[in-house]
């Protein structure tokens, strides 16, 4: 996968537009999920489109051999911020972050109880912006620590410490019976 992608990028750099179309197809769903989870809402498609155009123009700065996906998703994260900062979102209820609702799934198909899903989504929505972003990256987009650092543009240590604070805050927000078990490692 790695080698094939490097080949694709080399072709794009040489002017092969079909190669870029392939790259877009390969990463479109991830880019879209990233935009949606980081708060793009109804602007997600525009954000994704703009991100792919920016990525194309910035490809000359992309280091050969680096991981393309986190680099691309960092551009998506920035474009999402821009869309939000542009004030295009008329916030109805003052809520920052437009995490979508859990899909209405057959209870048998879901790992979580409806109650647990609701309380989790509410708790994550209630996090301060940066803490919510690290939760989104590490758990919803399932990026590893280094990838999260790239996507959010933070030092790795900052990712670690913000994640730690976010989990602590979530635990405080969620109704818990008292527990004597030690804190689980994130």
């Amino acid at each position: 996968m790695e080698a094939a992608e490097r080949g694709t990028i080399a072709r794009v750099r040489a002017g092969d537009r079909d190669a870029y179309a392939d790259l877009v197809r390969r990463h479109a769903a991830d880019a879209h999920r990233t935009a949606v989870f980081l708060g793009a809402g109804a602007d997600a498609e525009d954000v994704v489109q703009n991100a792919f155009l920016k990525a194309y123009r910035a490809l000359s700065t992309f280091r050969d051999g680096a991981a393309f996906r986190p680099w691309l998703l960092s551009i998506v994260a920035n474009e999402t911020k821009n869309a939000v900062r542009a004030g295009k979102r008329r916030r109805v209820d003052g809520e920052a972050g437009d995490l979508p609702d859990p899909a209405a799934t057959d209870p048998a198909g879901s790992v979580l109880s409806a109650e647990r899903r609701t309380e989790l989504v509410d708790a994550v929505r209630g996090l301060p912006d940066k803490q919510r972003r690290v939760i989104v990256c590490r758990y919803f987009l399932e990026l590893d620590e280094q990838e999260t650092a790239t996507v959010l543009g933070w030092p790795r240590g900052t990712v670690k410490s913000r994640l730690h604070r976010a989990l602590r805050r979530l635990r405080a927000l969620l109704v818990e019976p008292p527990s004597s078990t030690p804190e689980a490692t994130p």
């Binding site: 197809r25 792919f52 700065t61 209820d93 879901s110 940066k130 635990r171 078990t181 689980a184």
Partner: protein
């Protein structure tokens, strides 16, 4: 216990969040049809990198301009972000009006050294009486005059994390005002002001009531002017030369 399952539950939740499927082929078509003629092979990055932010800045200005009908239109929303200043509606209670001055006074040259952006000094105000930089070096403050007549200008890099939250009364919203080269935001009534640290946490010790304020941007820098009335504030903003590098 449920605590221990939190990471796994979060992952499960992520998989269950409702994301409308994307029409990938339509996206591919839109992207490919808009690709620039220039091939991204060579290291022309310097010029290319700068362009997107200019496009965005113009985009925002256009959006704001479209929202304006002369002379001024109130912003009808419960939440607005403008260059790192967040404006929300809410209760405005009385509190002290003078900001705590816990940083040493500096010369303008010293202040310039400490912050990472190029400060803007409006010609109309001349050299400040006092200059301060916040401990985290994100915020540069200048004051002119004293007591009742103090004019205060705060500035910071508006592209970074938000710096201020202003809480205005619901019936007294902020309004966009036309400036010489851009659009500013005018808050005509006293409102609650609080500083944010880089993490987004409110610095409650900084909370106070701010008087009428003009917020505007010069390049990457967001400026917050408190003290003068609206007409004077606009004149001051229009006398601010570009602070861009």
């Amino acid at each position: 216990m449920t605590n221990d399952r939190l990471p796994d539950d979060l992952r499960a939740l992520g998989r269950e969040l409702d994301v409308r499927p994307l029409d990938e082929e339509a996206l591919v078509t839109r992207v490919v049809s808009r690709l620039p003629a220039q091939v991204p092979s060579a290291r022309t990055a310097g010029v290319l990198r700068r362009r997107p932010s200019v496009v965005i800045a113009i985009g925002i200005a256009v959006l704001l301009a479209l929202a304006l009908t002369p002379p001024v239109r109130a912003v009808v929303t419960s939440w607005l972000e403008y260059g790192g200043v967040l404006v929300r509606t809410g209760p405005v209670s009385e509190s002290p009006t003078q900001p705590p001055s816990d940083q040493p006074g500096l010369t303008l040259a010293e202040g310039r050294e400490l912050v990472e952006f190029t400060p803007v000094v409006p010609e109309r105000l001349g050299a400040p009486r006092r200059v301060e930089v916040s401990a985290d070096r994100r915020l540069l403050s200048m004051t002119w005059g004293s007591g009742e007549n103090t004019v205060r200008l705060d500035q910071f890099d508006g592209r970074l994390d938000p710096m201020f939250i202003k809480t205005v009364a619901r019936d007294d919203p902020a309004a966009y005002v036309g400036l010489a080269n851009s659009t500013g935001l005018w808050l005509s009534s006293p409102h609650a002001l609080v500083l944010l640290d880089a993490d987004g946490t409110e610095r409650t010790e900084s909370a106070r009531t701010a008087g009428p304020t003009l917020v505007w941007q010069v390049g990457a820098v967001t400026l917050r002017l408190e003290g003068p009335g609206k007409r004077e504030a606009i004149a001051i903003a229009n006398s601010a030369s570009s602070g861009t590098r």
